[in-house]
Amino acid sequence: MWSFSQLTDWIDRSLHSVMGDGWALTVEFILIGVAILVAYAVLALFLIYAERKICAFFQCRIGPNRVGKWGIFQSVADMIKILLKELIRIDNSDKFLFRAAAFFVIIGSICTFGAIPFAKGLHAIDFNVGVFYLTAVSSLGVVGILLAGWSSNSKYTMIGAMRSGAQLISYEISAGLSLMTIVILSGTMQLSEIVEQQGQAWFIFKGGLPAVIAFITYLIAGHAETNRGPFDQPEAESELTAGYHTEYSGIQFGFFYLAEYLNAFIIAAIATTMFLGGWQPLHIPGWEGFNRIMDYIPSVIWFFGKTCFCIFLAFWVRWSFPRLRIDQLLSFEWKILMPICLINLILMSVYVIL
């Protein structure tokens, strides 16, 4: 299987051949930063388009179909529009925090984005505590949401922010516990190591029932963390108009919008990495020919294919169900999801010991 490390090594070598170590490192950092930002923006645009199209199909509609063939440039046009829009100044808002909030949200998701192994050898940050890092950084977003809600000086945003605070902190527990089951199974927290271990069989197959349960609970909890679907309490448009980002306009709103979609992607990507083998192809023990054919498919396609599957599931759920009420939301987490996760953790431990 072709590895991206050949490409990255070549860039590394050629940079070192023309400049000193320090400079080469600086240029590499910049390159990685630019690459991540570009990928971030492109992915977000793609996801916005995909969501609108998929949502339309679920609703018996066609969706965007005017800008470009099948409307594929719709989100580009929207991006241009959002860039041209006026940034409305809100009276009596906390100006500094109001502006900073959007960056908190987007920085949280970019940092997480960098840690995802996209393909073989395409992995910007690879800590030995990768899982730990992911959960830690991805919860930075809640700070941004709380700040946004508080600094806007509006009652809608305030309620939205408070809801989101309660929601994100609760669901982080379930998400963390679900990831922990895989950590138990793999014995490591390093993402690259976790993906490597799934070469023969993905954890969702290898881990048996506990892994399947963990996968589902992770998808639910992750979905809730992204404020989407039935869990979009903080931005419940039927009561809070747009929740915490009611007062934002132009590109500041765009940041929230991008972050929302990227968070959905990140949750799907983590689910892929942890449960569905990351960029590893589908291998069935004993079927050598089949396995070899699967190996020909590039790893990056495997990764994005599986991620898209998870995202599709999320869209499907989002466009099927009504929104939960805040007390339902919290009792679902504390009374159903978390007990299941805890029991599942024990199950997995037993499974690993056996």
Binding site: A56, F58, C60, R61, N65, W316, W319, S320, F321, I336
Partner: protein
């Protein structure tokens, strides 16, 4: 809560949720219902009785059927119609009679209730299906329905 009921609730809930997702997936695969507007212009997407725009049909000799009685004007709840008449000498009888000068129809205040067409004793006005009314200048919504130089159709001799 007893444990059996708790677990049963979870499974029933999952089953019901799956049912909902089945319905949405069913619709995902169904043909779509969106009408694509400028493309379907030629097709008949509205009923033939659809009240789009009040018109006064003219025949090939530029005759209309309006006798300028003003019943439509009196029946209109919004004062949308103005029938402006003039006196003209009748060629056959030689007497002065009232004929239609201008039939002014203000589309902007029309509510498409159909009282004018229903009350017209001569069926001189009728609805067309045209629904593309948007203009940039509101003055253009005030339309004259009788054509330039048109006149009342002569009575058919039987």
């Amino acid at each position: 809560m007893n444990a059996g009921k708790y677990i049963k609730n979870i499974f029933v809930g999952i089953y019901r949720l799956c049912q909902g997702m089945y319905i949405t997936m069913l619709n995902f695969c169904r043909p779509k219902i969106t009408e694509q507007y400028p493309e379907n212009r030629g097709k008949k997407i509205y009923g033939e009785r659809f009240r789009g725009l009040l018109t006064m049909p003219h025949d090939s000799e530029n005759h209309h059927k309006c006798i300028a009685c003003g019943i439509c004007m009196n029946n209109c709840p919004n004062g949308t119609i103005k029938v402006i008449t003039r006196m003209e000498k009748d060629e056959t009888t030689g007497r002065d009679r009232k004929v239609l000068d201008r039939y002014i129809y203000n589309l902007g205040s029309c509510i498409f209730c159909g009282l004018c067409t229903r009350s017209c004793p001569q069926q001189a006005i009728e609805w067309s299906n045209n629904f593309e009314h948007s203009v940039f200048d509101p003055g253009k919504l005030i339309k004259q329905l009788n054509r330039e130089g048109s006149s009342l159709a002569p009575k058919k001799t039987e």
